[in-house]
């Protein structure tokens, strides 16, 4: 009996649900009738009513309404049900309990609708993303907070508390960070005038500074401090010239000989400092003083610190850290490029929708930005035309352009070779004249010759890019290509000039160690400690480069800029006006970083020096940017310029690794100084450490080199590669399919909308006709009635 009742009872409930569903739809898109009205008036408007055509403000408010009504509805329904239950109470107790349990099982789980604390909190955190006014947000928040909610119990409560605390911590950290953030104000200033592309450059300088600072800290912690404070583990034998093992030419005697050399006493401390000689040479700033022995960490003397190993490891760590940092930064840019992927397709949208820098706040820059965007639009429309033109270019013209390009490339090549040869000759000359008697006695002249190679390199780096810039104009490439080609050529010049510097050192040093039983070879120019000598050269190169930036910025370009600003003569203005040429400035900092990488093995002071130089470079470049020059008419995009920086940096890193690797693996270190004295090569320290390491490490490493490991590893790698390749290909295909589907759906929708509006129109016409007919019928009938 009760079963039958129940069936009857259930039926209306099912209907109720359906009704509720219908109401839900109506309520989630309220105002449907009004919209229908509007549609009747103007059938072509239907398209704008589609949910996909409305932005989230509209959809959000509807969703929100729907959600609240949903809650309300459930509440109503429960109330109804309770009422229903009371009215349907049976006299029989068992039936009543049955009904009660039945109803209870039918009751919706209250906890599903009541959000718990964590969910409410999450929702509150989500409010900020809603595109509504603050008042509405506040209201929403208050509503969420006043809701009855379940308290979380036990572990969940703990988890939630932890999450909340994490967020609070992060927030306070970001607050503290914002306060401490270096150059925040300067960045804003630059951004306001020059846009985000140029700011990316300043961020790059900052990034380099912190990279060097980090490495510098490592160096101080792991090699400078131990070298200063720890005592050698064992007493090493004194130099004893009569002894066979420790006599003339032995490591001990050579070390003693080097330690006793002091440069000319006449030099004052300043001179010594800027040349990295004298007292400075014998500090931890250079390679020479680091001991080649194990140092004791504690008095028990069994725990020791292997200085040579620490030294070489730190050099390797520096390289690895740099590489990791570059790759990480570059990968970010690379990912963006990948997302841009079909980038070319969105070229115009990019100009229009993200062309304006909202950070610009200076009227003049805004004016320039307007111009730049105008030019960019023009150029991209133009380039379409040029592309068409290029395809239809006459043979003669093509040949002419081709020969011009070949000639220019040849000229560039000759120029580079000439520059490199000049550097080579000057280095040779400088090395030969240093022993000259007259020069050796004249401090100023000596200083000049001492710095001659560095001056030559820096001078060429200043002059040749200008010539390259003029040459590239003859080639008639597109503007973007011009920037890239000039940049690549200049990078080539700078890197190869450094290569030549190293090469000329190695040619000079291509003889036996000067410290040997037979005495130094008179023809050999090899200093007692050639590593320190090389380190000094890099030290000087860096110093001169830095000083040249100061000179060029403040002494040459500043008056130029001022002249251009205040002179009305058009020639002067043309000569004086400077644009902030981003690629050139990027090269300047990349060059310093390359010097630092190359030199840090010979002079551990270089990372510190580089960080200090970068610190000042920021201000120098800021001055060059804000005071000397006006914004460039070439629009630099933040994302693209960042990947450009990283590409240049990575290129110089890779090129620089080669000579450094050669030095570490092949060159024989000096006998008289440094942590590797007496060893056949620097790398042999690693070999020595490996040989003396525990057996299991050796076993593991040996296992890595066997075929048993290599073949499976190789196969696994290939399989992985293939798998990822297949996945990416599938994804690409999927993207294509989805895109096609999107287009098809769009067309379908168009079609349906069209049909719908047609039907509505027809209906309207039909209605009109009916009404007209009815009216005429009415008229007729009145006519008839009147006639009768």
């Amino acid at each position: 009996m009760s079963g039958g009742e129940r069936k009857v009872k259930r039926h209306p409930r099912g209907q109720g649900w359906e009704e509720a569903g219908g109401e839900f739809y109506q309520e989630s898109y309220p105002g449907g009738e009004a919209e229908l009205e509007a549609m009747h008036q103007n059938p072509s408007n239907i398209a704008t009513l589609l949910p996909s055509k409305q932005n989230r403000t509209a959809t959000y408010s509807k969703m929100y309404d729907a959600k609240t009504t949903m809650r309300r509805r459930t509440a109503n329904r429960t109330a109804n049900r309770a009422q229903y239950q009371t009215t349907a109470r049976r006299p029989s107790a068992s039936a009543a309990t049955a009904a009660a349990t039945d109803v209870a099982s039918m009751l919706p789980d209250l906890s599903e609708n009541l959000s718990n604390e964590e969910r409410t909190w999450e929702e509150i955190m989500q409010i900020k993303a809603l595109p509504v006014s603050m008042a509405q947000k506040k209201e929403h928040k208050a509503k969420l907070q006043s809701q009855t909610k379940l308290r979380l119990q036990g572990l969940e409560q703990l988890k939630w508390q932890r999450r909340k605390m994490w967020q609070r911590l992060r927030r306070s950290w970001s607050e503290a960070y914002a306060k401490m953030e270096l150059w925040r104000h300067s960045m804003k200033e630059v951004e306001g005038d020059f846009g985000t592309g140029v700011v990316a450059y300043f961020l790059f300088i900052k990034w380099l500074m912190f990279l060097n600072l980090g490495v510098c800290t490592l160096m101080v912690l792991f090699i400078v401090l131990p070298a200063v404070f720890l005592k050698p583990a064992q007493q090493f034998p004194e130099c004893n010239l009569s002894n066979n093992f420790t006599g003339q030419g032995s490591v001990e005697c050579c070390s003693a000989q080097y330690a006793n050399t002091t440069s000319e006493p006449a030099e004052n401390i300043f001179m010594q400092f800027i040349q990295g000689r004298g007292i400075v040479e014998h500090t931890q700033a250079f390679y020479g003083v680091y001991p080649n022995v194990e140092l004791t960490l504690n008095s028990a003397a069994w725990l020791s610190y292997d200085m040579p190993l620490a030294y070489i490891s730190l050099s390797l760590v520096f390289m690895l850290v740099s590489l990791a940092a570059i790759v990480k930064s570059a990968a970010k840019g690379f990912k963006e490029r990948l997302v841009e992927g079909e980038g070319q397709f969105y070229q115009y949208c990019n100009i229009i929708f993200s062309g304006w820098d909202f950070c610009i706040k200076n009227e003049k820059s805004a004016c320039i930005k307007h111009k730049a965007i105008f030019n960019e639009i023009k150029a991209s429309i133009e380039s379409e035309r040029i592309e068409e033109e290029r395809l239809t270019r006459s043979k003669e013209e093509r040949f002419k352009l081709f020969s011009v390009r070949v000639l220019v490339n040849l000229a560039v090549f000759v120029l580079l070779i000439a520059a490199l040869y000049l550097i080579y000759v000057v280095f040779d000359f400088s090395a030969q004249t240093q022993t000259d008697y007259i020069i050796a006695n004249n401090t100023l002249l000596r200083l000049l010759f001492e710095f001659l190679p560095s001056l030559c390199v820096v001078g060429l780096n200043l002059v040749i890019p200008i010539i390259l810039g003029m040459l590239v104009r003859l080639e008639r490439y597109s503007p973007v290509l011009i920037v890239r080609i000039t940049l690549m050529r200049t990078v080539l010049l700078r890197l190869s000039s450094l290569g030549v510097v190293l090469l000329s050192f190695y040619r000079q040093f291509n003889c036996d160690d000067p410290c040997r039983p037979e005495g130094a070879d008179a023809k050999c120019k090899k200093p007692l400690c050639w590593e320190t000598y090389v380190g000094q050269q890099f030290f000087k190169l860096m110093l001169v480069d830095f000083l040249s930036h100061i000179a060029v910025t403040f002494i040459v370009n500043f008056p130029r800029g001022q002249l251009a600003k205040y002179s009305h003569n058009s020639v002067v203005a043309y000569l004086g006006e400077q644009q902030f040429d981003l690629p050139k400035h990027v090269l300047d900092v990349v060059y310093i970083q390359t010097l630092c990488w190359l030199g840090s093995f010979f002079a551990p002071v270089l990372p510190l020096m580089a960080s200090i130089i970068f610190f000042f470079m920021f201000y120098i470049k800021k001055f060059a940017c804000l005071v000397n020059s006006k914004p460039s008419t070439i629009p630099y995009r933040a994302s693209r310029s960042n990947s450009l920086f990283m590409a240049v940096l990575l290129l110089s890193f890779v090129v620089m690794i080669i000579p450094l690797g050669y030095t570490i693996a092949e060159r024989t270190p000096s006998k008289s100084c440094g942590p590797f004295r007496g060893l056949p090569s620097v790398w042999s320290v690693i070999v020595r450490t490996f040989v003396s390491s525990p057996a299991w490490i050796k076993h593991v490493v040996f296992f890595f080199t066997t075929a048993g490991f290599a073949v499976p590893a190789f196969i696994t790698l290939i399989l992985c590669l293939y798998y990822f390749y297949a996945v990416s290909a599938a994804n690409k295909h999927m993207v294509l399919v989805l895109k096609n589907q999107l287009v098809l759906e769009g067309r379908d929708k168009q079609f349906l909308l069209h049909r719908l509006s047609q039907i509505i129109k027809q209906q309207q016409e039909h209605h009109k006709a009916m009404r007209a007919a009815a009216q005429s019928a009415h008229m007729n009938s009145t006519d008839i009635s009147s006639s009768t």
């Binding site: 996909s52 985000t196 841009e340 079909e342 949208c349 229009i352 909202f358 805004a366 105008f374």
Partner: protein, 184 residues
Amino acid sequence: MGQGKSQFTEEELQDYQDLTYFTKKEVLYAHQKFKALAPERVGHNKNAKLPMSKILLYPELKVNPFGDRICHAFSSSHDGDCTFEDFLDMMSVFSDAAPKSVKAEHAFRIFDFDGDDMLGEADLRQVVERLTGSQRLSESDMKHLIQNILDEADLDEDGALSFAEFEHIIDKSSDFCSTFRIRL
């Protein structure tokens, strides 16, 4: 900052912190900036409504070709006049912390001049005109450009960009986040 602090209660600040992408300190700093636009009004009433002309004194908005559109998009009274809360909303959306989707949402509203929730040809034309400033593209270039934009982005070929299409472009643009930004 001590002076600014007295104008807000701790709860208000907590609200603002929860409802924007700012920390409490940044909220106070934003209020200082707001106050600087019209000290005489904001001094009495921290949430005074400033007319659009005053809001447009803010340097970044002043030179921005879409300055008035921005004010309109964020104004709670929809006439371009902004209260401090509207201003705070604006700065929050333009801050670094705001995600791309939020920025895209507002960018769409800024670019949608006629308010029909679609970027039609007329909207695009106006955007381009404002971007190029005093220079004018020739009529044929303009037509060509708009056609190119629609070719790129208008997936359903209805002659206008819907929000979904707009968001799709923005998703692919790596520059959008760095340009649609105002440092407080």
